[in-house]
Symmetry: C2
Subunit: 423 residues, 2 copies
């Protein structure tokens, strides 16, 4: 079989993680090895927007050492985007434009790194190009701290965020229990609809410092239950540590955070939640006359590359490299994810191709069988699942005691236009 | 000169740091070497309260490996306290009690780890004991993330907190600038009266990712200046990163968090004093129609031992060890601090004894000559001062990918009473 020759473009989308650039490194470093098939390797500036705007960098110009450093550089080095493509059946303007750009630059390989929204984007583009006779290989590379993609055992990005959450909790626990007086500490953890990341707080109990209570979006939240749970912990000791997902909501699915403050809505129609911890604090103040402190792990939980898991970095890198190899070998329309062999005692993963249509816009909730009976913590089965994902320390280099991130030259490889008004 | 024989007690006080236990390790490990002079080494449970309550642990019973691990264990392993002793001229009840306990347990060495309040405590106790004929050696060991103690070049605890702030800013910077759309990110940093820790945000610029604006408590804060500063940054680029000290206040010294705008009514009708960062965010929202995100480094900045500076750990340990040595050699009434030799190119510190009376209740503000003309950032002279303090990485051991903190047996060495009602 003759290989499809042409150029490659890679984009990063959605919320950053500590290892999304490790996947980029995997794509770039592997793609540059296939120079017989792939001539130019482009990195889209701000994801899909960069393609539409003909704004992309020629990665062939980058130093290989700097591409290696992408493994230790958090967030999205090429810039991310939250622009949502329309349904092509209703409005195919952007798709037409993309086909025009693909033709102009002979883009035959399109890789996109993101969560389920991004997989939907790749899927739509892939289908459109096929329908319009433009032969190409389109592949998704999964990433999300939310760990909510279907078809994959777990998502690159999750292990590092979980390691941040668990490590920080072991440390904060020491601080939150240091005085003799009673104290309730509330920790707000990201996760709009799925409780995977909030659940990772439980990993701290492996070190002996887990939270007393964990509230996930998968369990309808009630004030009565909160009070009952906290009463029970306070009967035994005078310190309570509570991990709450930002996405906890009532039986009707109304976010707790919606009860106060402004809720911002992004271009995907997602509600931007923040302040759930503060609402829980207010509820607690209503009943308990003790010191209450609320912490938000905020951007740190998805950007703290200095605490990235080596396992996660390696897998994120490999997902990118596998995507290139599979595409060069003719595969298209898949997301590269992880498959775990649960029959071995040692942690054992391989890389799997999951049809994009299966992944697009679906969400994998935290399994109900891993939630305890009271609905306020997670079971050891979850620990068995998640503990391998946080193993290993990053080899992030430091200069002057501070991280040394990748410095990309970002040589323009396109011809930027203002197709999209991005102001 | 014959050495004063007897027992030793050590207590930890005030807000935790990442390395307050490193000083404890220094005191304990050094004291246990002097068994000819010091028989029992006690660790007070919750500082001064532990002494008043005869509640203290016999550190001689601890495994030496665990005492070593205290170097990597954040917060105060013995428990902290915020109990303030009265002026003995007005009420000497607690002092009488302390003398009673010191006599009962033949305490001849008293060491206390803390900030300026704690140094005041040691000073008062030291004077009282001298006046009442109880020969003893009383020494303070300085610690505070605030770096606001006089007489010492810097304080153990500061370097690690500064390393956390600077490192986290380099990472958060990547995340806060990832989208193409304008964004203002506000980071709230601890420091009620002194801007030292907020200033450490500037260290991130050594890595290329410093904040655009830094507001310190030492510069009176005005909304007009904030708007002027942000306008100016937004003229040049569409991302603004602002570091604010929690203690910024107006020309009359009224905290921003206390000012009119700070009072919020929560969903229960309670008046709430929200965080300084949140107030700045509200002020910005009034003028700028862009995405604004506020982060609080909260307890993490003083508990993140995984990011402790090796320099800080070593100095904290040595301060404790030096206190023991100097006391055994007859010194009393001093705080052990750090003296820096600025005549050498390489970082060079030695340990200095500062009379407690000089340190007690005094605060060292951030130097005005290190604040830029506009009052919204710090100069490179500060960088030269602070950069050496964040050098070196911790050797914190990890198990299962998580910190392995010291596990103390905490064998009771006293006879706990309820002298203080600590409920």
């Amino acid at each position: 079989m003759s290989k499809l020759k042409g150029n490659l473009i890679f984009g990063q989308s959605g919320g950053p993680t500590s290892v999304i650039n490790a996947s980029a490194a995997g794509v770039f470093i592997e793609a540059l090895k296939h120079s017989d098939t792939i001539e130019n390797v482009y990195g889209a500036h701000h994801g899909i927007a960069g393609i539409l705007n003909e704004d992309f960098f020629l990665m062939n110009e980058e130093d290989s050492e700097e591409l290696e450093l992408l493994k230790y550089t958090p967030s999205s080095a090429l810039g991310s985007v939250r622009y949502k493509l329309a349904d092509p059946a209703k409005d195919d303007t952007d798709y037409k434009r993309m086909l025009e750009v693909f033709k102009k630059y002979n883009i035959r390989y399109f890789f996109y790194n993101g969560g389920n929204d991004s997989m939907d984007t790749v899927n739509k583009i892939s289908q459109y190009m096929e329908e319009h006779g433009w032969e190409m290989r389109a592949m998704g590379v999964c990433k999300t701290i939310d760990n909510d993609l279907v078809g994959t055992d777990h998502c690159p990005g999750y292990g590092s965020a979980a390691k941040y959450v668990a490590t920080t909790l072991t440390e904060v626990y020491q601080d939150a229990t240091v005085y003799d007086s009673p104290q309730i500490t509330v920790v707000e953890i990201m996760g709009r609809h799925a409780g995977w990341l909030a659940a990772s707080a439980a990993l701290a109990r492996v070190a002996g410092f887990g939270p007393d209570l964990i509230y996930l979006p998968e369990v309808p939240f009630t004030v009565e239950q909160l009070y009952k749970d906290v009463d029970k912990v306070l009967e035994k000791k005078n310190k309570v540590i509570i991990a709450v997902s930002e996405g906890i909501s009532d039986a009707d699915g109304v976010f707790l955070a919606e009860s106060i403050g402004a809720i911002e809505v992004d271009s995907f129609g997602h509600k931007q939640l923040s302040g759930t911890g503060a609402v829980v604090e207010d509820l607690l103040k209503e009943r308990y006359d003790v010191k209450i402190r609320t912490l938000e792990f905020s951007l740190m939980q998805r950007a703290a590359a200095h605490l990235a898991s080596a396992t996660d970095i390696e897998e994120a890198f490999n997902c990118g490299a596998v995507a290139v190899n599979e595409a060069v070998n003719g595969k298209t329309g898949y997301m590269v994810g992880l498959k775990r062999n649960y029959d071995t005692a040692a942690y054992d993963v391989s890389y799997a191709l999951i049809p994009l249509a299966e992944v697009a816009n679906a969400e994998k909730a935290f399994p109900s069988e891993w939630i305890n009976e009271e609905g306020n913590n997670v079971t050891d089965d979850y620990i068995d699942y998640a503990l391998p994902l946080i193993q290993g320390e990053t080899e992030m280099p430091k200069i002057n005691g501070l991280p040394r991130f990748a410095k990309l030259k970002k040589v323009q490889g396109g011809n930027p236009t203002s197709y999209l008004d991005r102001a």
